[in-house]
């Protein structure tokens, strides 16, 4: 019975239960759906951020072009 009083024993049990639950959760359809959605959102966010950054660069280049034209450099 002393085994049940041993803290390490419960840690091992908790570890085993934890990993079994984690495995179930990871393999669950819902988890996969959530992960895919999360990734898709992440990818869309990256693409949108790149587009927004490119838009800003383009606009800056156009302003620079106008300034050059006004100064008679171009």
């Amino acid at each position: 019975m002393s085994m049940f009083k041993n803290e390490k024993f419960w840690l091992v049990v908790a570890g085993a239960v934890g990993s079994a639950v984690a495995k179930k959760v990871l393999k669950a359809k819902k988890t996969r759906e959530l992960a895919v959605q999360g990734l898709a959102h992440g990818m869309k966010f990256t693409a949108d951020a790149k587009a927004a950054f490119q838009d800003m660069k383009d606009e800056a280049a156009d302003i620079c072009n106008d300034a050059k034209a006004e100064a008679g450099i171009k």
């Binding site: 693409a47 790149k50 587009a51 490119q54 383009d58 106008d66």
Partner: protein, 699 residues
Amino acid sequence: MKFRIVYDRPGRLRLRAGAYAFDREYEARVHKACVGVPCVKSAVVHSANGGLLLEYEPQNGDYGASRSQILEFAKSLNPKSLPECDGETEYQLQSLDDSFKASLMGMIARRYLLRWFVPFPIRTAITVVRGLRYVARGVSTLASGKLSVDVLDGAAIGASLLQRHYESAGTVMFLLGVSGLLEDYTKARTRTALTGSLAVKVDKVWVVKDGVDTLIELKNVQVGDLVRVRSGSMIPVDGRVMEGEAFVNESTMTGESKAVMKTRGKTVFAGTVLEEGAIVVKVRAVNGNTKIQKIIELIDHSEDLKASVQSRAEHLADSIVPFSFLGFGLTLLFTQNISRAVSILMVDYSCAIKLSTPISVISALREAADMDMTVKGGKYLEEFALADTIVFDKTGTLTKAEPRLEKIIPFGGRSEDEILKIAACIEEHFPHSMARAIVKAALERGIAHEEEHADVKYIVAHGIATALDEKRAVIGSKHFVIEDEKVTVSEEDQRIIDKEAGAASVIYLGIGGELAGALCISDPPREEAAVAIRRLRESGIKNVVMITGDSKNAAERVAERLGIDTFFAQVLPEDKHRYVEQMKSEGKRVIMVGDGINDAPALAAANVSVAMSDASDIARETADVTLRRENLEDLVELRLLSQKLMERIMMNYRFIVTFNTSLLVGGFFGLLSPTTSAFLHNVSTMGICAKSMTKLKVE
């Protein structure tokens, strides 16, 4: 394609189709389609936001017409239906620049994001994993028997990790990463610029079958097919002329600017241009087997050889490595203190050298570009500074390849002007380069020539015959005038011509069966050639050599006039590179200066090569340096610039060694704390890099 107009000024239009209009893989195709619109000067394409920036020219002064044309094109554009392509050189260079900027920004961002957001233990783990890669590389380099910077980098990073100096290991790796990225970028850019426009750019050709002309893809043309080529087109295949006659400009193949007459039975080459006339060519070789492709292969091979040369920076940094290890050994021996000994390895000479050298080189390359010279890489500047021999091609390099009337020798009591007047009058009907020289000379002397002759008949590759005051007048080569037309020339007259003409080519003019005069035409050296050669000698060039396909007589005259000590005359185009290789095998470091496609193998064989401003495309692509001004003195400027660059690199090298050694000594004797040493080391590295960015100021 649906799009919005986001910027609209005459000559510049920016359209935006949004982030998901087309993928990155379609960028090259869209770019090619855009620059294919006749009025479009340049295009920039970004798949990230589906953006097209188009710079365009007006049509008959009307920007509106061009704008409408572009908008119509953009509306009908469907990226997915465009054929696959590698992209134009301009696009490839642009995407290289973009990816370099993105990588550099990514590198900097990663470093600071890691610092700010990642907890110390994880950050340490990442540093250790990355550091172990450097250690592994150092070990494998050492195992292969080399004691290079890789070994020192591995040892320094390994020692930092062992002493738990994760921050300094991270900094060293970051700086090494930046210098590696810089190096890869310059190499990739150079290679892309080189391979840019070597191929024959003809997609479709007219094939004659059973008397009918059919347009087919070049790749479907077979050996033995008959291909029709018309005025202004590039000849797409090697072959033999079966029908027609035409003037073909073979400057891309031979370097000579004079168009050559091609008649039935003559051979023509891919990559040459048909200036006037029309011919039918029986295909002897297509695509990979044409002479132009063989030359490209030869160049590719030489390029590979060149790429294996170690860069100057690595060489310098490598030479320090044994001393670092020697210092480590001696410190260990005398102090018996491992941490003091390891501190020797921690003095990082290589980082500063590896960073400041590419920065110096890139700065010098930019300075060369400001002086209208394109240098394709740092090692070429180094070779230019170290060279002791310069080899010039004659025609088009030392001369302008523009024949000029040098002298008129009149006979039968006629005046020079009279001979020139008659010659120009006849020759102006056939504008080949010799004729142009005569007509131009008449114009310069203000001689008006009215049409006094009857029908003018051109006898292919020989000369012209006409009637003047009811007498037969002939002008052309000696063979044509004296032998074919039986014009009499006394021995005395011939002796005078031979004496007066010297190295020049002679055009004979016969009227009524008697020799009326001789016109001496030569291709004179560039005005600045002699001065440029003298200044090159002053800058330390020991041997000045000229290689030419011309006669010994002509070569001798030019060499004498320009102060050239060695020349090789009557050299076959394909043999030029052998002379260069021979000089290299004698231990000389050779600069080759040329312009024609026949110079390309010699250019590739030399230690460093230069193409003139009006050189053929292939020579410009092969050469390591291209001049954009028609001035040989630019070679001197480049020599001085390259020598100053070498001086700067050596000065940086000395400073880095002295400064870091003093830090080391200070640390060794406890005069400087490790933090102060690290601070001074980093500040000196940044300072030397900043100084390397300044202009070398070649006067």
